[in-house]
């Protein structure tokens, strides 16, 4: 391990957070390098200034503030009777459409009956064969060529 490699590990070494393999490498280097030993002592002095300093805890009322904010932001249940809300809405719109169509039909029929107009169900129209077949007419001058 070189001096520059060691420098990046010195803080972790002082805090006791190095892996056993790296710790052995650092110990071996420190045993022979006086400059790095001095550096480690200086880092140790700096780190010891922070050791044992308090950890501040939030006041109990802070969670209440967060809980209130979350409750305000939280949307309602996204499901209704186990189905996604969008599906429930689409089904409702479809059913409403059917009901509306049927009721409009019923109103029209009842209005015609009142006015004396006979409502008859017409049989489907049969399409004659000639309507569906297309005939290509050939001009007389072209007939001679054929």
């Amino acid at each position: 391990m070189t001096c520059s490699e060691l420098k990046s590990h010195l803080v972790d070494y002082r805090l006791g957070e190095l892996s056993p393999e790296l710790e052995i490498g650092v110990n071996e280097h420190l045993a022979v390098c006086k400059k790095c030993s001095v550096e480690l002592k200086q880092i140790g002095d700096t780190v010891s200034g922070f050791e044992g300093s308090a950890r501040f805890k939030p006041a109990p009322g802070v969670y209440k503030r967060i809980a209130e904010k979350i409750t305000v932001l939280k949307p309602g249940p996204s499901r209704f009777l186990g189905m996604p809300k969008s599906m429930v809405f689409a089904f409702g719109a479809f059913m409403l459409g059917i009901v509306l169509t049927k009721s409009i039909d019923a109103i029209i029929i009842s209005t015609r009956r009142v006015s004396g107009i006979e409502v008859r169900q017409e049989a489907p129209r049969r399409v004659p064969f000639s309507d569906t077949v297309e005939f290509y007419s050939v001009p007389a001058k072209n007939l001679a060529r054929i």
């Binding site: 002095d45 300093s53 805890k57 967060i66």
Partner: protein
Amino acid sequence: MIDHSDLNISGLYRCFKKGDEKAFEVIYRVLSPGVFNYSVRVLGDWHLAEDVLVETFTKFARSDLDTRGNLKAWLYRVATNACYSLLRKRKTELKCYEQQLKTSFGNPGPDFTKELRVQRLLSKLPDYQRIVVILKFYERMTYQEIADILCCPLGTVKSRMHQSMHKLRDLMEDRS
């Protein structure tokens, strides 16, 4: 009934997203002391740190995060960004709030004097160096975790740590 003590942060977050509010409370109980202590150390102000904590956990609850990622790092990143934006707004030199420290410690004693000295030392460091020192010394994070939080390369974190150690040493020598 789910036993929350067996779950990690990702598992608890999944439970919370399914509607289990108790899981969110457990996440808050586990992670809030660290985030709060970090915010107090960075800002040097109790009240602002509480605001940061509220903002961070509210965002956490609102967001739809991928539980495969590091949620703890995400929380610290959000707290860091909130601290940065508050520090930018103040635009004045960071001051240590002695009155707030006194309130926290009760009677001023040796602990109070030490805390005051530590906080004054931290406030002398530039923001980007102070954050690295706090995450390393107080939250005991690895350099890689710090790099993930700050979204910067590993080498940058190491060099910031190295610079801040030199600066802290100089400051301590000046004081003594």
